[in-house]
């Protein structure tokens, strides 16, 4: 189960706060997956008591965009901690899907990749199996241009990206380099859908390990 709350001393109207929370959660707590299971209790709340003073921040008024962006970034940082604690997880994986027709399309593809058991076990096995990533992309149910789709691993140590598939054509992958990247705890997968829409979404997930099965085979309802 995911539970969370945020508390701020900024003065914010109830309408603005609801709007800010929705924006933030769609880009943070609603953009994570450990095991693909939705709980009966998931809740994220935000309280604003205005104790620090100042004018009340209203929807579309001064300070609204700035506060929305602060809350969104903060919520994403909290959400990432949940993924890092994923039961049995050994990898923290960021999935960026770019050039979709809409934000929702991009997020759907990212979510599909993030919940693929075969992608997640490949990540645990440090296998550069871009075929599983592409397969998940293809059944996500949103517009994709196969001949313009590209997949890359983005190393988190600042070294150049490793292109796995470019415009639908497989690259001659340097397996040694792929292994180096996959050995890192943090990994980023970038998928370009090539639709020309320009929308993107980010999702956070982890690998699927032996430990996950051990833990959850012993957690009685």
């Amino acid at each position: 189960t995911l539970l969370g709350f945020m508390a701020t001393d900024a003065p914010v109207s109830a309408t603005a706060l609801q709007s800010i929370l929705k924006h933030a959660v769609d880009r943070s707590f609603n953009a994570i997956s450990v095991d693909g299971d939705m709980s009966t209790n998931d809740t994220v709340a935000i309280l604003a008591n205005g104790a620090a003073g100042g004018p009340v921040i209203e929807q579309d008024g001064e300070g609204y965009d700035a506060l929305r962006d602060v809350v969104t970034e903060f919520a994403a940082d909290m959400a990432k901690l949940v993924v890092r604690d994923g039961e049995g997880a050994t990898k923290f994986v960021t999935i960026k899907v770019k050039d979709a027709l809409t934000f929702e399309d991009a997020k759907t593809v990212a979510s599909t990749i993030a919940t693929s058991a075969l992608v997640k076990t490949a990540l645990f096995g440090q296998d550069a199996n871009w075929g599983r990533i592409l397969c998940a992309t293809g059944y996500a149910g949103v517009p994709v241009i196969p001949t313009k789709t590209s997949v890359s691993f983005i190393p988190t140590d600042g070294s150049p990206e490793l292109k796995l598939l470019v415009n639908g054509e497989p690259e001659n992958v340097n397996e040694e380099r792929a292994s180096e990247i996959l050995a890192l705890e943090d990994l980023e997968i970038e998928v370009r859908l090539g639709t020309g829409g320009g929308h993107e979404a980010t999702y956070y997930t982890c690998d699927f390990s032996y430990e996950y099965v051990k833990i959850n085979g012993d957690y009685r309802t």
Binding site: A14, M38, I46, G54, M78, T221
Partner: protein, 206 residues
């Protein structure tokens, strides 16, 4: 044989802050009340504001919404997201799929904090959360009896916030706490947050 949970907790210790800057007017606590069986783990948290807050929340879209979800939704609807004073949370038992009795237990948790805050209206001012095993009733007497103790132990320093975060955890290997200071329109504000979760994680809340 090494305990894998302890090993994971040790490796994740770097994600637990040793200090923080917390929002004014919020006092929080985390205590052990006996929902968790080990006799010492923190399992009851209270977050209370000195003054009424505006509030918003998103909830699971699972058809089987737990009693705390139902009660918190009703509270936000009834207050239009205004005049909320507190959050109360227990870990160790989710109070999910517990029928009318579970619904009344969630209401009792909310009301117990309302009373301490001096809130006497029929609409609750306290949001309620529960997490843990599904399909079991809460040990509600232990919880309601210990809410005054949790309320009394509230504070605003880092140790209070960290205890509060610990009281939210279930199978988590580390408490998830964050805080930051930020500026908006020339004013300085603070935000703090707590999250919990390690498994059954694929939220899609609305």
């Amino acid at each position: 044989h090494a305990d894998p949970h302890k090993a994971a907790a040790s490796s994740k210790a770097r994600f637990v802050p040793s200090t923080g800057t917390y929002p004014q007017g919020f006092n929080v606590s985390g205590i052990h009340c006996g929902v968790k069986k080990d006799g010492k783990s923190l399992d009851l948290a209270v977050v209370a504001s000195d003054v009424p807050c505006t509030a918003a929340a998103v909830f699971t879209k699972n058809v089987f919404q737990a009693a705390p979800v139902q009660v918190s939704k009703e509270t936000l609807v009834g207050t239009h997201g205004r005049d909320i004073r507190a959050i109360v949370c227990n870990s160790g038992c989710a109070n999910a799929v517990t029928g009318q009795g579970g619904y009344e237990d969630a209401q009792a948790m909310s009301k117990a904090v309302d009373v301490l805050l001096g809130e006497t209206t029929s609409t609750h001012r306290t949001l309620v959360m529960s997490t843990g095993v599904i399909g079991q009733r809460l040990p509600i007497d232990k919880i309601v009896t210990n809410i005054p103790k949790a309320y009394k132990h509230r504070g605003s320093d880092h140790s209070h916030w960290l205890d509060c975060a610990k009281a939210f955890t279930t199978t988590d290997t580390f408490p998830k706490l964050g805080s930051k200071t930020f500026g908006v329109a020339g004013k300085t504000y603070r935000i703090a947050g707590i999250a919990k979760g390690a498994g059954m994680i694929h939220p899609n809340m609305a």
